[in-house]
Symmetry: D2
Subunit: 358 residues, 4 copies
């Protein structure tokens, strides 16, 4: 079943709960002889780490990763790579009430309906804390992609809207993304977004967002018909990020309003494409164009504004979720999305080698 | 790798090309002792069958399904169910030019880039003809779900927009869906859509659309954290339908503009939910509410309007795609989407039994 | 679950019952651009075909294979290869009594205990008829191995004992294997075995046997620790052949009586090995030596000599199994074993390319 | 590929090298609400622990297991269970020479041929140290089986021969197995075996052995045709234990010398079986009889007696393997085999629930 694994050949299994002693992952299938150390992983974890600005949760986690296996004298050996991060700042008292009541929009009630038990501390397994391990695995995937494909591989994401306020794509600047705490690519959107997020946080509320991921420098041919499609796997990977409710490839929902000639990406000798409505994927297979995906992420469900709910014995209660929460979980989803796409591409690269590498 | 299989426990493997002798699928993992015959499958195939109205391709296929294994004296035996449909109306001559040139928006070039070979006849494996087998498998999934869960299980889809013209959800009528050739749930949208589709077809063009799928009567608990999520599998299943470029669960992209209190689904004793922004899924697990998904499908890439492209030796050509094509592939995606969701739910039901059924 | 599939990257799914309309398989993951036609598969099926000598069942099956997908203009396309054989000589009347009683040693009772239903005609899914599709898939694997690795790849099997009468390995002659109907490699064993089998057949009985498979010309490195071991997969593949009760790699059970220095295979520069007690596999990974496996197969359970059993309502009965049966199923297991090993090796070759091919 | 995972629904992934900081495993798919703590696992690890008698390696490992996730307030939650053991007694200096030369019979050369790199410290990933995690996972499987099926489930193994000296099965006594350091079920074999092992150890040699595993109290119906066979999975699990070269089910290789009526297990009303030549499995499916498997394990390859080999630059050397080694690895394979069978049965129980539990 492998409910806690993803990828077929570059296979990542994560484990751990928000307030358990540690979280971790096992990366199986990674090629041997790649140079890999904690220093290749830690910077990506630091990008995602909580408590770095007033726009994310104030939980302080060192998020210090350790490589426990699979690397010898600085190189991968082809055996499973075990990565672990100890949890250090679990203030479980913040979550006392969660034990007794279901937070609307959270997985609390769903876990109880399914399993008849749940680790309520900080959301347990359903907490976004688990995404730290996706980022760690994504860092390994990046090392693999760079080593096998060269330095031109770029997998980057940015926040493209907050609360319905879109960036202007004309002003897109990847350098700007690294300069502001919101991973915003449009210099003129940073201030209004900061003001909006400050405002919803003061209200004890939260706000939705959209994120765009772009992968460049990948070879054509990744992906496969008809259920091993690259876009199918990207959709699954992004929809699996906590709070995501919609995923698009290329022009996404906009194509529903188009006529055939408007949506066509003319091909020129090369082959080159004159446009990229398709987001780099045709029939589930990469064409060599940039792979473009986008997703919508809901406002954090943990808010101070009371919402009607029930407690664990079924009586009506009003739930206000205290504790330290991200007012806009879309922000920290940016490095997670990059990591998930890196893993999907690493997986499809190995799958491509397997069938078509002869 | 299993690029041509989907589902983990209710596992469907399809095979076949558009213009090969036949197409087929193998359904493995189906529970024993279900009453099943061709009569349970054929009606669903007939709904998808080409050539039923002027709004779909005029290719005439009987799409007569045969059960070749796994059923004995009218009941499933627990062994793999092999289903096959012979292809009867392959006018390969229509496709002579495809052999030499890449149709923009089609998988032609992607297959060649990946495999160095392609069966160009009618699009080969990338043709939507393959989706007939998804519908067949979906019919088996429906029998399983009804037998195990009862008659209240309903998995239905409808077209919700054509070329940007949305239905009015207030007028949604599931009976209407069965009465018009466009699977439109809004009686007042049928005529304008027919006019629009007639118009694009006369122009030799095509048009995009959106589809909504609703699954009701399923138990809470289907799905699993964190990579076995029900919404992740739905996203993958729908994104894998030919031409789909975007997928939403519940409110989908609309959540990106909401604040936490707007997006919350308050819970009442029962448990019941006062709204369904979440589309019936929290933390990847079904809550028992209707499961709601939506997707966008691009305009058919096969159009008579010339689009610049290249031929197989790399020279520039203008491609006009003759042959018999759906002007709006969104229409025939409706029964396919229902079938895919039926298969995903059948799979997750067995997965739920496995882990939580004791 | 995929109970009817084997292999991970070279993935074979079989379907069909002994007396259904047809049997078939789907080979997914096969590399593109291999030259493949029915003529590459049919000879291997003919080797396994029933009714070729008085030592195998007299059921007459043409076993004519058809390629239904995945091959275009004589070459594989990378899409799933569907193979089908129609059943033509099902004398179901022979099996009338099986419906009501459980044949000892057969899977009849096990199927009913598991599924609560069984297709009793000719053993249904548990019949060795299914192994025809393994042979067909094995033929595709052979084409793949030869194309990718060259003509030196040899995967051959032979019967090494019947009823406890062992060959003398000193007289092993691969050419002899093709000259006698028992796949016996020792010219001096053929006559005594024929006499023995004739004798048990006249008694209405049957007899056990052992088979050895040798694979040569494969590169070192196939296989993987610690659960993807080549010997683990070989063991599973051979144990899964109908009637097999024991599997050995290299010296097999004989190693249990040895001391370390007796069992060691000294290594010489090259690397070369001075002996092959290990059967070509160390730590689950191929060393480049010949891969040697052996298995024991029980006497056919279908015998005319009455054995106490029960009928389907639980009453005691004596069962005599009429119909047309192999007196020594070990004989026809020879081509099946070769095919299984070919499939396992094809799978591991692709797995090796995936992880170590960069 | 999942080369480091086994099981489909009760899925175990192990990681770690002999001389890395730790070894561990992740058990995914375990049902929720089982009572589980370290105290359920530790006793099984203690049985396998090195250094407990003069007949096993003198490496001292506390083998203290920690549960890092998946258990809350003493119960499983349905999320992945992460188990970890820190390595404490790695005397890497013992292994200095391994870095430069290939120990015959070990995986050293195979790893280098495959990966082009190996962690030579103590055998790295190929060390039997990894089997500690199989025992830990097996303990979880035992808890699951007892909770779901009741206390009658028994999975036990014993050493049945050393160096060709067989026990007398007539004297089989399960209580005796727990009383002697060799897991020998025959009181009269203990002393001669001890003398034999002492003798080979003094000679700087090692000795082979056979082990039998018996599982009782399991329901009929576990397993599946035709590639999901219970015996196929048992064969793979046992062959995957370090040093195993042969596997048998029921009468195993002895069936090759039998006639049909000798091998038949007559059935009596109940159903009951008058004998168990089949080892409890027919057609890949459990009949409810005891499941009986047997395997042969080679003499430890690490011996003080010199064996010709090559070093890492390809020159001839004589290898004498110092360090602390088991003179008979068959001994410590006993608890490992029990654990593997427990895992296989746990997996097949969930698989059975999935398909046939409705």
């Amino acid at each position: 079943m492998s409910d806690n694994s993803f990828g077929k050949l570059f296979r990542v299994t994560t484990w751990g709960e928000s307030h358990g002693p540690a979280i971790g992952c096992v990366v199986d299938g990674c090629p041997p002889r790649l140079e890999l150390s904690e220093a290749d992983i830690q910077p990506w974890l630091d990008r995602r780490k909580p408590g770095q600005s007033r726009f994310t949760t104030q939980r302080k986690e060192a998020d210090q990763v350790r490589i426990l296996s699979g690397v010898f004298e600085g190189k991968t050996t082809g055996t499973p790579i075990s990565l672990m991060i100890e949890n250090t700042d679990q203030r479980s008292k913040d979550y006392g009430e969660i034990a007794q009541q279901y937070r609307p929009g959270h997985a609390d009630i769903a876990y109880d309906l399914k399993y008849g038990i749940r680790d309520y501390r900080g959301g347990g397994r359903s907490s976004a804390r688990e995404t730290a391990m996706r980022v760690a695995a994504g860092a390994v995937a990046r090392v693999m992609l760079k080593t096998l494909l060269g330095a031109d591989v770029k997998i980057r994401a940015a926040l493209t809207s907050v609360g319905g306020q879109m960036i202007d794509p004309v002003r897109w600047d990847w350098d700007e993304v690294e300069r502001n705490p919101l991973w915003c690519p449009d210099p003129q959107s940073v201030e209004p977004w900061e003001a909006l997020i400050d405002s919803v946080r003061k209200d004890g509320s939260s706000i939705g967002a959209t994120v765009e991921v772009v992968a460049e420098g990948l070879p054509a041919g990744l992906g496969a018909p008809v259920y091993g499609k690259l876009d199918g796997d990207i959709a699954s990977a992004l929809m699996g990020i906590n709070g995501v409710k919609g995923v698009e490839i290329g022009d996404g929902f906009a194509v529903a309003a188009l006529r055939g000639e408007q949506n066509a990406d003319p091909i020129k000798p090369g082959p080159q494409f004159e446009s990229n409505h398709a987001g780099g994927i045709l029939g589930g297979i990469a064409t060599g164009q940039p792979i473009v995906a986008r997703f919508a992420i809901k406002p954090t469900s943990s808010i101070l504004i009371p919402v009607p709910s029930i407690n664990s014995v079924g009586d009506a209660v009003d739930v206000r979720t205290k504790g330290r929460h991200d007012p806009c979980i879309g922000i920290r989803a940016v490095p997670v999305a990059e990591a998930m796409i890196a893993c999907v591409l690493a997986d499809h690269l190995l799958r491509h080698y397997a069938q078509c590498g002869w």
